[in-house]
Amino acid sequence: MREITVAQAINEALAEEMALNPEVYIFGEDVGDFGGCFGVTAGLKKKFPDRVMDTPISETGIMGLAAGGAYMGLKMVPEIMFSDFVGVAMDYLFNQVSKSRYMGGMQPKGDVCGLVLRAPNGAGLTAAAQHSQCTEALLMNIPGLKIAIPSTPYDYKGMLKYAIRGNDPVVFFEHKMLYGVKGSVPDEDYVVPFSSADIKLEGSDVTVIATQVMVHKALAAAKKLAEEGISVEVVDPRSLKPLDTETIVSSVKKTGRVVLVNEAPVFGNALAEVGLQIAEHALHDLKAAPLRVCGPNRPIPFTPALEKQWIVSEEDIINGIKKVLG
């Protein structure tokens, strides 16, 4: 095991899968020699000069290239620079790659669609309302699509490798504020399958379901609360589609209380699905109403003064946990 950052984990996953499979292609704006706007693809163009490609600023062009290549059986790994741009590329996720196999009536013959769209999520860089969002909620109601939303270097690397080896369209959400975060990663080859929610911390009093940066904040909150004798279980769904309902529900059945933590605005948040599934499957185990600790229902402000208040903090999570504990 080595300690590497999330950015390195992603970079390694890409490099390793490209080495294993000569038909993996990486492309997007400035992902080549520039190494990507956040440095994540640094060095890949040197290693694989013909398979790492800069594109013009054309998100639908990028997605179309990805879709067509994937239909032909290539493994296409496009990047959009900010996950906020999912609005521009939406049709391809919503109506194209997620539906083509079904509309064609063609499972599984030949018509694979191995496509992994990398999309950096998140606030914290005072980049204002159009460059700071977590956009997973927009994709939750799209059958045929898979959504990865990892939080640690181990999960980033393992899930990205799993996604690239798969034959289905995946949106792989990275979080900008996690790129520099370190964690242990094995030396040998491994993958992390989807639909494998991970209990990041075991506890008995309350379950916190959290994603990406919020997993780390929840763990910090749990540590503080442990000093007060409160035992928090932190569950990271890792993928939202497919969702590992079993692990999530059994944690809540055990603790009887749940706090849902996600950075995006609370109304219509992706974790609404998770929360409702808990109510559907564990109603009678719930000792308190489920509680969401999510972003406010307004665009993300530029100024650091307001952005800091906008983003869910460790303290917000602590307050939420105390609230469900009554």
């Binding site: 179309g64 290239l65 196999r101 063609m106 497919p242």
Partner: protein
């Protein structure tokens, strides 16, 4: 481009196959047998047959909603296509796609995209695959005068040009996008003029003259095959029927339709066949009858085929069903 007499005869048969198939679909739709929306290519057979003439096995061809007829030439059997229009389990797509999404990727028949414009970026992925796999094949995308105004087309053309992909963009100006005259959706007369903005060749040809179509496509396809990059080919043609079946076409005049009926691509090919003494009227009749029989059989096949049953609807979402949604 010299087209042999045998090929002329084949083109003639192909055009009749499309015409007969489409007219049958119109009849069946009017009778309430065919469900959904259906867009027919009657009047546009020349550009379909001519384009088909220029493609080679292994090429990838994406059609629009009005060219399911072309899929017949590409390799979907008339029975499988008719069954798809019926929504039967024996359809090319097991009934899941219908007219708009019928396809047969093994034969390079990519089918249509219900979202106008999107296919014109996706085609680059096919072209890219041909390029990196050095197949020598090309990718062709067909779309209308209306669809040409979608932004994705712009991104698709520019990317194809910048990446020098073996892709050909075929624009079919049939006068209208539903009710909007192509004269009102763009101020330029020839949409092929847009190619210059991406530094690629663009030509406009008579889409009702199958020989002109062959000329234009064979040149563009050859360029793409030889590494010369993408180009735009525009065909001027006309749809004899409404936008969809049931469209009362209040937006166009009887005179306009009549004028175009005189330019009927099948009549024009017949004239060539007779002028060149390729075949006589009797032989023409026989060819027509042959195609009619194929369409009759297709209909029969579709009629007796079963509808898909429940569990079938569950498949084909993911590569392997993992027991979760």
């Amino acid at each position: 481009m010299k087209v042999s007499n045998d090929d002329l005869i084949k083109l003639y048969g192909n055009m009749w196959l499309i015409r007969m198939f489409e007219q049958r679909a119109a009849d069946l739709f009017a009778k309430g047998v065919l469900p959904g929306f259906i867009h027919l290519g009657v009047g546009q057979e020349a550009f379909m047959a001519g384009t088909h003439y220029s493609i080679k096995p292994g090429d990838s061809i994406g059609t629009s909603h009005r060219e399911h007829g072309l899929l017949l030439l590409l390799g979907i059997t008339p029975g499988a296509l008719m069954a798809e229009l019926y929504g039967k389990a024996t359809g090319s797509n097991k009934g899941k796609g219908g007219s708009m999404h019928a396809c047969l990727p093994e034969k390079g028949a990519l089918g249509c995209n219900g979202i106008l414009g999107s296919a014109q970026t996706i085609i680059n992925g096919y072209g890219f695959a041909h390029k990196v796999r050095k197949t020598g094949n090309i990718a062709v995308t067909i779309f209308g005068d209306g669809a040409a105004n979608r932004g994705d087309v712009h991104e698709g053309m520019n990317l194809a040009s910048v990446m020098n992909l073996p892709v050909v963009f075929i624009i079919v100006d049939n006068g209208y996008g539903i009710s909007m005259s192509s004269k009102n959706s763009s101020v330029v007369t020839d949409l092929s003029a847009r190619a210059a903005g991406y530094g690629m060749p663009g030509v406009t040809a008579d889409g009702n003259d199958v020989l002109a179509v062959i000329e234009a496509t064979s040149e563009a396809f050859k360029r793409a095959r030889e590494g010369g990059g993408p180009s735009v080919v525009e065909f001027k043609t006309y749809r004899h029927r409404g936008h969809f079946e049931g469209d009362p076409t209040p937006y166009r005049s009887k005179e306009e339709l009549e004028m175009w009926m005189k330019k009927d691509p099948i009549l024009r090919l017949e004239k060539i066949l007779l002028d060149r003494n390729v075949i006589n009227e009797k032989q023409m009749k026989d060819i027509k009858a042959e195609q009619l029989a194929i369409v009759d059989d297709a209909q029969k096949f579709a009629e007796v085929s079963p509808y898909p049953e429940g569990p079938e609807g569950y498949g084909d979402v993911f590569y392997k069903y993992e027991g979760r949604d």
